[in-house]
């Protein structure tokens, strides 16, 4: 799915997001073209050639979230006791340590690689298959690494900003990274998901619900008419920090 998505994104020249002058339109008291200067960089500017398309996807995601994703997640939260929710979150965190490990190795970062290995061993054994995060309690913290960060580490730039259906904010580099990570994860296939299609479906559904459960973000909660720009800025800067770390 993701391949066709990125490919189609690259092909679409981006529905124009630049304001066209409308009939009966009168200049504003503070018009953009007299206030904004071309020779000045603005922090809010992020390379976003597909802005019109991205905004459509943003709106789609908000609707998807409101009418499907959040109701399902709330139902899950209502029937699941907190300790079980935490165990499920720990389980997925432990499984996806594979991504952290492979990327720590690719970036030649010995400490994160060793600590991640330690975390996997401790949490899988003492933590009973990853249901408990014993490692963190022992002071061995999680290192979040993914292939987008690995690419960034070796100097690959952001590329165009992208809003992915369901997944949300990303960019060309990070979307490529996410696809690579998920291909690697299926290739390793430690849970033998490929042999059991029902198990595979259950795994990815539970992963999706658990992910939403752990994110407090709500669309349009900022109350800002500039929410799209603000999320775009935050996402880009946060990734910059992650890569520099």
């Amino acid at each position: 799915m993701s391949f066709t998505l990125v490919a189609s994104l690259l092909l679409i020249s981006g529905c124009s997001s630049v304001a066209k002058k409308q009939p009966n339109e009168l200049a504003a008291q503070h018009p953009v073209d007299t206030v904004v200067r071309d020779d000045v960089d603005y922090v809010i500017d992020i390379y976003d050639p597909f802005e019109g398309f991205n905004r459509s996807v943003y709106r789609f995601n908000a609707g998807f979230d409101r009418y499907l994703y959040l109701p399902v997640t709330s139902a899950y939260e209502a029937v699941t006791p907190d300790p079980v929710e935490n165990a499920i979150a720990n389980f997925f965190n432990n499984i996806f340590e594979i991504t952290n490990l492979s990327n720590a190795v690719l970036q030649l970062k010995p400490k994160p690689a060793l600590e991640t290995t330690g975390r996997i061993i401790i949490n899988t054994t003492l933590g009973i298959g990853g249901l408990f995060d014993v490692a963190t309690k022992l002071g061995i913290y999680r290192h979040q690494e993914d292939f987008g960060q690995t690419l960034g580490h070796y100097g690959v730039g952001n590329g165009a900003y992208l809003v992915l259906p369901v997944f949300g904010p990303s960019n060309l580099r990070d979307a490529t990274g996410a696809i690579t990570d998920s291909l690697f994860f299926s290739e390793v296939d430690i849970l033998h998901l490929d042999e059991h299609s029902k198990r595979k479906l259950a795994f990815y559904l539970a992963d999706a619900i658990n992910s939403r459960h752990n994110i407090s973000f709500r669309y349009y909660d900022t109350g800002s008419p500039f929410e799209y720009e603000l999320i775009r800025l935050l996402y880009t800067k946060k990734r910059m920090l992650d890569i520099a770390r």
Partner: protein, 426 residues
């Protein structure tokens, strides 16, 4: 042991007068307090989960829908008790939603005190401006409070079949505190609620003075316009990056800022923090101004008669809106608008009418209204604390420190709120 003491101490102190005893809130600098808030270990222990439900209500059913705005109902939060209970309306501060962190803190406090809670967004929050403001030009205390009152009446109707309500109470923080005072005054005429008790939490005395102070925090600490802001932002990102790289483990949670403060040995550049408060206010103000502009087709930033499409870029408008101070908005948009409704009104009249001083007599005599504030609150002008002491007398509870709302979650403050409202129910 220290932890246990922290929980017991406030209980012991709760019998004493709050303002005079030793006050243990740990941050002395008002700017730092405002940004950092209450460290986790000093915060009151409150329930983690309470039964919250997100509600919505249509206020102006016939108002034409603007495509750009995704939601055409007013959203609020309800926390209900299973039995008959008093209901408290709680009003958010400038630009804040009914779901803001401070609102959720108050919900936990009032839920524990045995109330049904209705959390309302600020009339300066986009969803309110679009769906519940009658003028859609926010910032006018009298007008915004009328709108709030109408919303509260409608919510009362909406909830009448599902909740058993014994009495009504009212509170609000920051701008919401000032609005609570005006709502309470309006209720003495309309008498829909007959509020048993009202608590104003860190309200401004003069809205205009307070926003001018917040405007100045930005311009005093970041000079050089856009270029200056870029430099400031780059430096801030570098600081963040350093902190992020040097610490083993960072959670971006409520305690994040306090940990940075501690890790830097409490040496923090307060000018930079002051600028951050200024930026945060400017952002709220830009949101409010542009939302109002789209809703009213005033042609202030958006070209007049331009139908803003949901997929159209607003980045250019952001650049413009973020350069407009609240004072600019007041003289260019707010004052002309209210003069068109009320010809002959001067700027001074308008500033006075959006202040608590304009209802001083009422506040002096209303025995059911109390105020809680901080001596060093950064939004107050000189003399404002005296205004509260003189006007409210023994109903003014003034803490020696805490900045603007920094100590709101502090155990002693929470204990005070619990006692203030509980005492009434007996």
């Amino acid at each position: 042991m220290k932890r246990i003491l922290l929980y017991i101490l406030p209980l012991m102190l709760s019998n004493l007068c709050y303002a005079t005893g030793e006050y243990g809130y740990p941050i002395d600098d008002p700017i730092v307090a405002t940004v950092v808030g209450t460290p986790k270990d000093d915060a009151a222990a409150l329930a983690k989960d309470i039964p919250r439900s997100e509600k919505s209500i249509a206020i102006f059913a016939n108002r034409p829908v603007k495509k750009f705005f995704p939601i055409n109902t007013l959203n609020y939060t309800l926390i209900s008790q299973a039995h008959k209970a008093p209901l408290i309306f709680s009003i958010a501060g400038t630009g804040a939603s009914h779901r803001s962190a401070k609102m959720q803190l108050l919900e936990k406090v009032f839920y524990r005190a045995g109330f049904h809670v209705v959390s309302l967004p600020s009339p300066t929050y986009a969803n309110f401006i679009v769906n519940a403001s009658s003028t859609q030009v926010p910032g006018h205390l009298v007008q915004d409070s009328k709108d709030l009152y109408f919303v509260m009446e409608r919510i009362r109707q909406q909830l009448s079949s599902q909740l058993k309500i014994s009495n009504y109470y009212l509170t609000g923080y920051s701008l919401g505190g000032a609005q609570a005072a005006f709502v309470a005054k309006l209720d003495t005429q309309k008498q829909t609620f007959n509020f048993k008790k009202v608590l104003l939490i860190n309200p401004p005395v003069s809205l205009f003075n307070s926003v001018s102070i917040l405007d100045d925090l930005l311009t005093d600490n970041i000079s050089g316009g856009v270029q200056g802001f870029n430099t400031f932002f780059d430096e801030l990102m570098q600081d963040f990056s350093k902190i992020y790289q040097n610490s083993e483990h960072i959670d971006f949670n409520d305690n994040f800022l306090y940990r940075i403060y501690q890790d830097n040995n409490k040496k923090i550049d307060t000018d930079r923090l002051a600028a951050l408060i200024g930026i945060s206010f400017r952002l709220s103000s830009a949101n409010m101004i542009f939302t109002s502009d789209i809703a009213t087709n005033a042609g202030y930033i958006l070209p007049k008669n331009h139908q803003l499409h949901p997929t159209e870029s607003t980045t250019g408008y952001f650049k413009v809106a973020s350069r407009i101070s609240f004072s600019d908005y007041f003289t260019e948009r707010f004052y002309p608008f209210y003069r068109s409704i009320n010809p002959g009104i001067t700027q001074e009249d308008l500033k006075f009418s959006t202040s608590l001083s304009s209802i001083e007599h009422y506040l002096h005599t209303a025995k059911n209204i109390a105020v809680v504030h901080n001596e060093d609150d950064i939004i107050l002008a000189p003399g404002d604390i005296d205004f509260f002491r003189n006007t409210f007398g023994s109903r003014a509870y003034i803490y020696p420190k805490g900045g603007h709302l920094g100590n709101m979650g502090y155990s002693e403050n929470i204990e005070f709120m619990l006692n203030y409202f509980k005492a009434q129910e007996q």
